[in-house]
């Protein structure tokens, strides 16, 4: 028993001393928040831990709201927010991580090539409910919408300046994959999803297509160069002066060393 304790002590002290920058006493970091960012942040944390033995990064989800609340209450060192901060959240510091575009999708066989913002608004408010009214075939429109609280929903509402209760959906989905499967299975459907996820699915042969918005093609490339209008930032947030370890992890997450991970999760790295 004593021997085990001794080994533990020896191992932990060697980790501490091996950890360079000296002043680091808090070797554990807690990150909570957006379920959109969490898978990406877990990968980044794994890579950081490999390079810095002795550091434990705990990534938990629970939504952007939880991330912000936890950082404020100092339960978490870093919060994840998959949207810009609101006016009443300006007490926190934002560290942009990546971007995610939200694009309109329809079935691949749909003849419609593009829609104006007015047409999209009319479709979602059930003022237009057949594709023939837009020059397409005589096919009822199935409006695929997201559940309340989802960040993509908020981006969509803000883009078209629609109040959520005025929308008349035919189907409400949870996450992006469910939205894509629903549109792929229904020739008359229209919905909106994360562009990166949609691009990956289109490459895999899923029968959907992304519609351009304001004449800008919906792609990760146009999100990256900032020309695509409907996009959202993926942010890390902190309160007050972050610990040296937190600062180091944030700097690592913002560096080029993790751009491959960001692309793997279908997000868009920020270009300086």
């Amino acid at each position: 028993m004593f021997r085990i304790l001794l080994i533990c002590l020896a191992v932990s002290t060697s980790f501490l001393s091996g950890c360079g920058s000296g002043s680091q006493r808090d070797q554990k970091l807690t990150i909570t928040g957006s379920s959109t960012i969490a898978p990406l942040m877990s990968e980044i944390a794994k890579r950081y831990e490999q390079a810095h033995p002795g550091v434990r990064i705990d990534v938990q989800t629970g939504g952007t709201g939880k991330g912000i609340a936890d950082v404020r209450q100092e339960i978490a060192d870093i919060g994840m927010a998959s949207r810009a901060l609101k006016d009443e959240e300006q007490d926190l510091t934002v560290h942009p991580l990546a971007a995610d575009g939200v694009g309109m999708i329809v079935h691949q066989d749909n003849l419609i090539g593009q829609l104006t913002p007015q047409q999209i608004t009319a479709i979602f408010q059930d003022k237009i409910n057949n594709w023939s009214e837009l020059g397409g075939p005589d096919l009822p429109i199935t409006v695929v919408h997201k559940a309340e609280g989802r960040a993509t929903l908020e981006v969509f509402l803000a883009q078209f300046e629609i109040e959520n209760p005025t929308i008349k959906p035919d189907v409400i989905v949870g996450h992006n994959e469910q939205g894509i499967k629903t549109v792929a299975g229904s020739p008359g459907a229209i919905g909106y999803v994360s562009i990166g996820t949609a691009e990956a699915d289109i490459q895999a042969g899923v029968p959907i297509k992304l519609l351009p918005l304001n004449d800008v093609a919906a792609s990760t490339a146009t999100v990256a160069n900032g020309t695509f209008p409907m996009s959202r930032p993926l942010n890390l947030v902190t309160k007050g002066q972050p610990s040296p370890l937190a600062q180091d992890v944030i700097a690592f997450a913002q560096s080029e060393a993790v751009h491959d991970l960001i692309r793997e999760q279908y997000f868009v790295p920020l270009v300086d």
Binding site: T61, T142, A147, N164, P165, I172, K181, T182, G185, S186
Partner: protein
């Protein structure tokens, strides 16, 4: 160890187990009440039934369409699965040749073991496009009923099978000795004798149908509206929690616990009703 000591220890062990099991249920209920209290205080229980719609972020909290949807899908699924399940169990016990009966039973057990997400995925990819031929998106009340019915079918079939097996052999032999045919033995002797076991199985299946979440979420359309037709999209109370919990802020979160509490009350009512039905059966 003397026999009385073993009995003594066992009696205390079983008492402890009982108290533990009961307190887990009470803890869950207590937790639900504690988490829903802020919403109940702030919003008041009446508004969950009188608000104009369910838009928690816009301060509208009507749960009635979801309550209706939960009851309708459960009722529909049980109406579909009970005759099929009981019928298939009777077929297996009294009509099927032994070898086919054996394989049939393995097949039903396999059906019972399929995870609900797999049912949901199959529903979304196969069932829904089929139903969309009838109009609408295909996601809606009918899809939910069909899928749920399929999911609870093995529960009813297997519990009926067990109930039929546990009937005293003398009863069946006596009926056969009286010259009754297979039809009369099955319907007039076996089913009434196995009635309690069968109704327990149906109750278990009903509770499963009420609580089922993932599969229904994937095929029901999830729009919160009073269903007006079989193809209308619906959202059940369970799907509501699964859809919104991950993204809910404080009040919204508490409101979701209220819908969980409502769900718990429905299940409790179902259990009590089943008890009443069984007790009536005893008096006959």
């Amino acid at each position: 160890m003397s026999r009385s000591l073993i009995d003594y220890l066992l009696s205390w062990f079983t008492r402890a187990a009982t108290i533990l099991a009961a307190s887990i249920v009470l803890l869950v209920v207590g937790f639900l009440i504690q988490e829903s209290l802020p919403a109940l205080r702030q919003i008041g229980s009446a508004r969950f039934f009188t608000d104009e719609s369910w838009h928690p972020l816009s301060d509208r909290f009507n749960l009635v369409p979801m309550l209706t949807a939960t009851l309708l899908t459960t009722f529909g699924a049980v109406m579909l699965a009970a005759p099929l399940g009981i019928g298939s169990a009777i077929f297996r016990r009294y009509y099927a040749p032994p070898r086919i009966g054996w394989w049939y039973r393995r097949l039903i057990e396999l059906l019972a073991g399929i995870p609900s997400v797999v049912y949901g995925l199959w529903g979304l990819v196969v069932l829904v496009p089929l139903l969309s031929g009838l109009g609408g998106s295909g996601q809606g009340l009918l899809a939910a009923i069909l899928l749920l019915g399929l999911m609870i079918l093995p529960t009813i079939a297997l519990s009926t099978d067990v109930a039929l097996t546990s009937i005293p052999a003398e009863l069946i032999q006596g009926a056969a000795a009286l010259g009754l045919g297979r039809w009369s033995i099955a319907w007039k002797v076996a089913i009434p004798a196995a009635r309690r076991g069968i109704s327990a199985g149906v109750m278990l299946a009903t509770a499963r149908a009420i609580g089922e979440t993932m599969a229904v979420l994937m095929v029901a359309g999830n729009v919160v509206e009073m269903p007006t037709s079989l193809s209308a999209p619906i959202r059940t109370l369970t799907a509501n929690i699964a859809l919104e919990m991950g993204y809910a802020g404080t009040t919204h979160r508490s409101v979701l616990f209220v819908s969980g509490l409502l769900l718990m009350i429905i299940v409790a009512i179902v259990v009590l009703l089943a008890q009443l039905v069984q007790r009536e059966g005893q008096h006959e």
